[in-house]
């Protein structure tokens, strides 16, 4: 296909946003447009898949505002995968949103759908970014377009949380990411993502570790501690937002950016031989373990899932900084695997809220008998988080562990095993109580399943979580291209 059609991928959700705004008065039309945009976008994105897996790298320069800084788009394996996941899950999430927003009689639904489409456009921009400048532009756009979604409810508590959200994300990106980009540009004269990295030969020694730090903490969306505070804060958003954005698009944009920067800006080989960059795996390990321990103590379902997400995100970073081919593939796969599992969990949380208005863990005892479909999906999602076969989580964990063994990195192996145990410790009791325990006294159990649209979405994502275990070859082939130049 002609590379000059690449910007269409961004344009489509933007046009969708405008159409949604114009159709705001008629909810049925508005939601049909929303769904149509999502489907068209996914078809458009997937139509690029064969080309990219054949090894082509379509590239298109839209404009060049400043010499050496261009607004350019390209598709490579990592971005292709991210775009596919985000655009595909947007369809399911739209179906879910319709059920959820109507089921809960939320206000300002038009604004919700507009901002959602804008956020997806920004996520596509991040996926397609050909250089750091383009990435930064859409990164900021994603923060700004999701702010109204987080602040959706509009009461004082929500606004305060949204302020934390915006403050942390904008603060880190302007305060750390932008200097990192400028530094890269001044040192190397380019910001284009190049396989093998661009930093080598320009920056050396401790400065590499410092630059890596600026990038990692500047990309606050990846929620490496201590810049994770925005994620639990963002849980005040309506559940579809938490599900697609704060389990998939936004947080994945963060780890995706870091992975992309490590592979295409630093270069895997260069970083492997640079002692000053080793700190990152300790930071990631710290985040994994600490987030899991905090998750153990949560009593609110969505907050627990948020901390679980923080831990899982650092898996990706950990896998990336093992800096061995298998682990890089594992990192990429984990972005996809975690997306399916976590969106299922959030969908389930939203279903429980819509049907039963329950948000706390202790209220969930015995709920499996009232909402069997929801809890079955929840169970599958939780097993995927732990990494139990046959779920998606197992596939990625297999590759990450394989990479860790390649590198003989026992620290990473230990961290992953410890965190698996912790994950099991906070997910299994919920599953047990939900299915087998009697309801807690005083909890209203007179409710059934959530609306059909919600159930449909749940069923699709939980099925995918399992299907991914058996059917993942195309994605594996695609992501192997990331490391084909490296010795296995």
């Amino acid at each position: 296909m002609n590379p000059s059609t690449l910007p269409l991928i961004l344009l489509l959700p933007l046009v969708g946003a405008i159409a949604i705004a114009l159709a705001g008065r008629w909810p049925n039309v508005r939601e049909t447009i929303s769904l149509l945009t999502a489907v068209t976008l996914a078809v458009l994105v997937f139509s690029w898949f064969p080309e990219v897996s054949e090894g082509l790298r379509p590239r298109f320069v839209l404009s060049e505002p400043l010499p050496g800084l261009s607004l350019a788009f390209s598709l490579e394996p990592l971005g292709m995968m991210f775009a596919c996941i985000a655009s595909f899950l947007w369809i399911i999430n739209t179906i879910y949103s319709i059920g959820y927003m109507r089921g809960n009689n939320e206000k300002n639904q038009t604004r919700f759908y507009i901002c959602f489409a804008l956020a997806i456009a920004a996520a596509m921009g991040i996926a397609l970014a050909d250089n750091l400048f383009t990435l930064f532009l859409f990164y900021e756009l994603l923060t700004l377009s999701t702010y109204p979604l987080v602040a959706h409810k509009g009461d004082a508590k929500t606004i305060a949380s949204a302020r934390v959200y915006l403050g942390v994300l904008l603060g880190t990106s302007i305060g750390l990411l932008l200097p990192a980009i400028i530094w890269t540009w001044v040192a190397t004269g380019t910001t284009t993502f190049t396989l093998g990295g661009i930093v080598e030969g320009h920056i050396a020694g401790a400065a590499v570790g410092l630059l890596l730090g600026l990038f990692v903490f500047g990309i606050g969306k990846a929620a490496v501690m201590p810049v994770h505070r925005w994620l639990p804060a963002a849980m005040v958003a309506p559940t579809p937002v938490s599900a697609l954005l704060h389990a998939v698009a936004v947080v994945k944009a963060g780890v995706f950016s870091i992975t992309k920067i490590i592979i295409y800006i630093f270069g895997v080989d260069f970083l492997f031989n640079e002692p000053s960059a080793q700190w990152l795996q300790f930071a990631a390990a710290f985040t994994i373990i600490t987030a899991s321990i905090i998750a153990l103590y949560q009593t609110n379902l969505k907050r627990m899932l948020a901390y679980s997400t923080i831990g899982q995100l650092s898996y990706v970073i950990m896998a990336t900084v093992i800096l061995k081919p298998m682990a890089e593939v594992g990192a990429a796969i984990h972005i996809a695997a975690h997306a399916f599992g976590k969106i299922t969990l959030f969908f389930a949380a939203g279903a429980i809220y819509t049907a039963a208005h329950k948000t706390e863990l202790w209220q969930l005892a015995g709920i499996g008998r009232r909402m069997p479909i929801t809890m079955a999906a929840f169970t599958i999602g939780a097993l995927s988080m732990i990494g139990v076969p046959p779920t998606a989580g197992f596939v990625s964990k297999w590759f990450i562990l394989g990479g860790a063994f390649q590198a003989e990195n026992y620290f990473a192996i230990f961290t992953i095993i410890a965190s698996t145990v912790l994950n099991a410790m906070y997910f299994l009791p919920i599953i047990y109580f939900a299915w087998l325990a009697p309801p807690a006294p005083g909890v209203d159990m007179n409710h059934g399943e959530a609306p059909k649209a919600i159930l449909l979405a749940l069923a699709v994502t939980s099925t995918l979580t399992i299907v991914f275990f058996f059917f993942n070859q195309p994605l594996l082939d695609l992501e192997s291209q990331l490391v084909e130049s490296l010795p296995l």
């Binding site: 400043l66 900021e140 509009g154």
Partner: protein
């Protein structure tokens, strides 16, 4: 000579000659229309001049055929063209967008006088940008200043009178300092023409009167430009002026003073006084830095949107002064770009404020709570311009901030702390803007009324054109870049790398 050769003179003459005609009109609407047409014509002339500068260049224009250095000469280079675009553009924006607002602020009886003063201010500001000698710059500076005092004081808010008195005193001190400096130079060189002065200063180099002159001129212009801490006249003047006047003066009046500062310090002193650049750098950068940080911090605590934006202007002037003070090619580029981009962003922001005040009647935060839901179009434009002010990529503000940071990184030794200061102040800008944005979207309107009440479509179109210009010049910054490049070349005359 055909008419096209007279463009530099017409740039001043058109508004200057229309002013008395407008006063004779005796009707508010007609006077407004006349002023708008004159302003539009000036804008057109500025565009023609810009095209000419970027093409073959504009030859020096000798008034009445009297050759310089004895006659009055008018010079238009890239920097002048940039200023002319800003001044005439801001004036047109203020007039076109300000009809409803001015009809409310200005007595119909006094309106013709007001619009006459507006045109005189415009003529003065244009005159500064084209004048080729130091004394005519002073004359035009006085013309524009006196007219601006009238404009600021013309509103219904009586606090404007005390504000304008402060401005008058400080502005006069600034102009006097400038005149003293010019007098010293005239005493030593016998010329007032910039180009001639630059040549003849070589003979009297490092003499005490010249050094004193440089000091007087720099400080006098810094006063006029509101470089921190000489800014004390600015916040109140911007706040209590009629809203349309604020759009006009906030976008260009301080920048004109910086323009003269650049002309003198680089065009005249830089090549002649050996230590001058270092002195200038050491003088201006600490002031600029404190302005950038302190004024941004003060802006956070304001409860009036106009005052908040005024303090933001002080901080932004700090950026321009910082870039200018670096005394490098990249720095001068950044300074000129930021003049252009900041004028664009601030003009748009004040135009939005004008629209807010038009519908709600006051610029205080408490009164504007929830305005984002009542005026979604205007507020969205405000957010876009605000992002440009912060310097978010994809907007005009990013281009100049990028240049500024690259210029600062080129300074050996203190590049990193300066970058950190710039970034810190950008974050402060996020804070003060977001305070308002959050209030506008999620605050409760004072009377609980959340019905729609947008401004009329023409004004909304104008606001949105201005907002979209912020994005356009963020993605296609070639025009200001070319002008700044040309301006830098003439200013430095190939002196610096």
């Amino acid at each position: 000579m055909n008419l096209a050769d007279h463009l530099p003179a017409l740039q001043v003459i058109v508004p200057l000659m229309t002013a008395p005609l407008v006063i004779l009109l005796r009707n508010g609407f007609l006077a407004w229309l006349g002023a708008l047409l004159a302003s539009l014509a000036s804008f057109g002339l500025a565009i023609l001049l810009t095209v000419a500068v970027l093409g073959a260049g504009v030859p020096e224009y000798a008034m009445g055929g009297w050759q310089p250095p004895f006659g009055i000469s008018l010079n238009v280079d890239g920097l002048s063209a940039l200023m002319l675009l800003l001044v005439t553009g801001a004036s047109t924006l203020g007039l076109a967008g300000g009809r409803l607002s001015l009809r409310r602020d200005i007595d119909n009886r006094r309106a013709p006088m007001f619009y006459g003063a507006w045109l005189i201010a415009l003529a003065g500001l244009c005159g500064i940008a084209v004048a080729g000698d130091a004394f005519n710059v002073f004359v035009f500076m006085e013309i524009s200043s006196l007219a601006t005092y009238i404009l600021i004081a013309a509103g219904r808010d009586r606090r404007a009178l005390s504000a304008v008195f402060k401005y008058l005193i400080i502005g006069t001190i600034g102009a006097t300092f400038y005149l003293i400096g010019v007098g010293f130079i005239y005493m030593m060189t016998g010329t007032l023409n910039f180009a001639d002065m630059a040549l003849r200063l070589g003979d009297v180099i490092e003499t005490r009167p010249i050094i004193i002159a440089a000091g007087f001129i720099t400080i006098g212009l810094a006063l006029k430009a509101a470089v921190f801490p000489l800014h004390i006249w600015l916040p109140r003047a911007y706040t209590y002026a009629p809203n349309a006047v604020t759009v006009f003066i906030a976008a260009c009046s301080t920048k004109v003073a910086i323009y003269v500062l650049l002309r003198f310090n680089y065009g005249v002193f830089h090549g002649n006084l050996l230590a001058h650049s270092d002195l200038f750098t050491v003088f201006i950068i600490p002031l600029a830095l404190s302005g950038i940080l302190l004024a941004s911090a003060i802006a956070i605590y304001q409860g009036n949107i106009k005052k908040m934006l005024a303090f933001s202007s002080v901080a932004q002037i700090g950026y321009i002064a910082l870039a200018a003070g670096l005394a490098t090619h990249a720095g001068l580029m950044a300074a000129q770009l930021h003049m252009f981009n900041h004028a664009l962003a601030k003009g748009t922001l004040f135009l939005c404020v004008l629209a807010f005040v038009l519908t709600t009647g006051s610029a205080s935060f408490s009164n504007l709570a929830g305005i984002g839901r009542r005026m979604p179009w205007t507020m969205a434009a405000f957010v876009i311009a605000g992002l440009s002010l912060v310097g978010v990529p994809g907007t005009a503000g990013f281009v100049s901030k990028w240049y500024l940071i690259v210029a600062v990184m080129g300074m050996p030794g203190w590049g990193v702390p300066l970058v950190m200061a710039i970034i810190l102040s950008s974050l402060l800008a996020v804070v003060y803007l977001w305070r308002f944005v959050e209030l506008a979207y999620y605050g409760q309107p004072p009377d609980g009324d959340v019905s729609r009440m947008e401004v009329p479509l023409p004004l909304r179109t104008l606001i949105w054109s201005a907002a979209l210009a912020n994005i356009y010049f963020g993605l296609v910054p070639q025009l200001p870049l070319a002008l700044a490049e040309s301006g830098t070349t003439t200013l430095l005359g190939g002196l610096l790398p």
